[in-house]
């Protein structure tokens, strides 16, 4: 008897998991957009819940192209080949890319030339004589692609570690006194030190393919008064 009721409740629990009300609006892509999408989906009051799958910009674009999600999230502009298949990009908001150092690093400011020398591997030591350790993102990251494009260093950065999220970069930089890295500005926390350095603007895009009513409602919300406020509280600058 007990066993049957156990199975019954298990079954009910499982079936309620799979029949969860209105179909979700699924988003997939850039890990840098986590905060912006998080704040938007929290203030979103529509019937369909919004889900978020942090996989990286290239992956999100690929997912929306293959119809595996409703909205792809990209923290870089789409490349030529990627726009095929009826994809439409909508600039959502502006964010920055921030240079981060270990708190023990004595460097307080870096200009553009110094950054190019450091990231390209021409300058291999800090003023203190310690070796420079460059922490970056994986090849498909939108943040990496925007950062390298801004410095004119596409595919030329001399990485010691390539990690798959802003959080990992922050953790790695905070663990090594000689480390330098870059992250999405809205994800910076106090594990790391932010030197005075040129900031690199990056634009966050929503990528859609023939959005239906359900998805369009959320897109409209993103550019409404409430949506813009949510984007601002996530630390980004909304675009119209």
């Amino acid at each position: 008897m007990k066993v049957t009721s156990l199975f019954a409740s298990l079954f009910l629990g499982l079936s309620s998991l799979f029949s969860a009300g209105a179909p979700a609006i699924t988003t997939d892509g850039s890990t840098s957009m986590e905060r912006a999408i998080g704040f938007l989906s929290e203030t979103w009051t529509g019937q369909n819940p919004v889900t978020y799958n942090p996989t990286g910009s290239s992956s999100g674009i690929q997912a929306v192209k293959e119809g595996r999600c409703d909205i792809g999230l990209s923290s870089r502009p789409l490349k030529e080949g990627e726009l095929e298949g009826g994809l439409e990009t909508i600039p959502l908001c502006q964010d920055g890319i921030t240079i981060v150092l270990n708190p023990e690093n004595e460097v307080d400011s870096l200009d553009r030339e110094e950054l190019v020398a450091l990231f390209s591997g021409q300058e291999k030591t800090w003023d203190s004589g310690n070796p420079v350790v460059i922490i970056g993102r994986e090849a498909a990251s939108g943040t990496r692609s925007a950062f390298e494009a801004a410095l004119g260093l596409r595919d030329q950065c001399d990485y010691r570690q390539e990690l798959t999220s802003n959080g990992d970069v922050l953790a790695a930089v905070s663990q090594n006194p000689n480390a330098i890295g870059y992250v999405s500005s809205s994800s910076v926390n106090d594990m790391v030190k932010v030197p005075e350095a040129p900031s690199f603007a990056s634009t966050f895009y929503l990528v859609v393919k023939n959005p239906d009513e359900r998805v369009q409602a959320f897109l409209d919300f993103c550019f409404s008064q409430k949506g813009r406020a949510a984007i601002e509280s996530a630390g980004c600058i909304p675009l119209s």
């Binding site: 996989t55 990286g56 290239s58 992956s59 690929q62 310690n130 070796p131 420079v132 350790v133 994986e138 090849a139 498909a140 596409r154 595919d155 990485y159 010691r160 570690q161 390539e162 990690l163 798959t164 953790a171 790695a172 663990q175 090594n176 000689n178 480390a179």
Partner: protein
């Protein structure tokens, strides 16, 4: 009636047994079918022995030699640390330790086997990697050495418990005879028990090798993920971490090449298993 149930049980067991064979064959077929196209396009030589892995660069290159060598070096290093340690622990626990200690230690080893590999990776990232940097005065601690240490801890519990089972299965009469001849327990353990259990121990080594070769998550968190040539303190990318890290965004030829990497991994494991099968047969004859 009785005969009927027996027949039914036999049928169920046969079907289930065949199911695992079918699974292995299906996976093999799928891997070969999805792994071969990229190898054909890139060329077997360029794929296996190409020195540069840069699939998302503007001029993509698909040479897996650095990944292959890193994976093999990681496995060899993990075995060099894990196998002797595991075997000695097993001999001690099974043949020499008082029952009290064995009862106390064994649950901990089983627990170690149950810890998810991502936890090993996390500890590696926050303790081992900074530790290596300070200890060896290198710029950054992530890399092959960190991966080897994590892998050797990862394979240790399996190595210990499989070796223990092999040692337990040794015919007690052999050991008693040795003791009766005047050999002490340590001599008996190493000269009688271990040689008698060599088949099982070889099996444990192969399974550990497979585990070390196949692990992705724990390695990904400590190895640095840049496709360099393997060296203790340089950042490396393994075959597994390339598949795990790039599959989510890869498409086109890169995606096909990742399947080819999986095929290479599969072939390596297959070779390991055939090797132990052959050595086992020779031992018996």
């Amino acid at each position: 009636m009785n005969r009927k149930t027996e027949g039914l049980a036999r049928l169920v067991c046969t079907v289930l047994g065949m199911a695992s064979v079918v699974c292995v064959l299906a996976i093999t077929l799928y891997l070969i079918l999805s792994g071969l196209p990229a190898i054909q396009k890139i060329g077997l030589g360029d794929f296996l022995f190409g020195p540069v892995w840069a699939p998302s660069a503007r001029n993509p290159q698909y040479g897996i030699l650095p990944l292959l060598l890193s994976s093999l070096a990681g496995m060899a290093g993990a075995l060099a640390i894990g196998v002797p340690t595991g075997l000695l622990v097993a001999v001690y626990l099974e043949k020499l330790a008082p029952a009290r200690i064995r009862r106390f230690v064994f649950p901990f080893i089983e627990l170690l086997a149950g810890i998810p590999s991502v936890v090993y990776g996390l500890v590696g990232m926050f303790v081992l990697v900074p530790g290596i940097r300070v200890l060896f005065h290198v710029p950054d601690g992530s890399g092959l050495l960190a991966a080897i240490v994590v892998l050797s801890v990862l394979i240790l519990p399996g190595m210990v418990s499989l070796s223990c089972s092999a040692l337990k299965a040794v015919d007690p009469a052999m050991e008693q005879a040795s003791l009766a001849m005047g050999a002490d327990p340590v001599q008996t353990a190493f000269k009688i028990s271990v040689p008698c259990a060599r088949r099982g121990i070889a099996n444990a080594v192969v399974l550990s090798a497979g585990r070390a070769l196949g692990e992705a998550m724990a390695v990904m968190m400590v190895c640095g993920n840049v496709a360099n040539w393997p060296a203790p303190f340089s950042s490396v990318k393994f075959l597994t971490t390339a598949v795990a890290g790039e599959m989510s965004y890869a498409y086109g030829l890169q995606r096909e090449a990742l399947f080819s990497i999986a095929l290479v991994l599969f072939v390596l494991i297959f070779i390991l298993n055939v090797a132990v099968y052959l050595t086992g047969r020779k031992g018996k004859a």
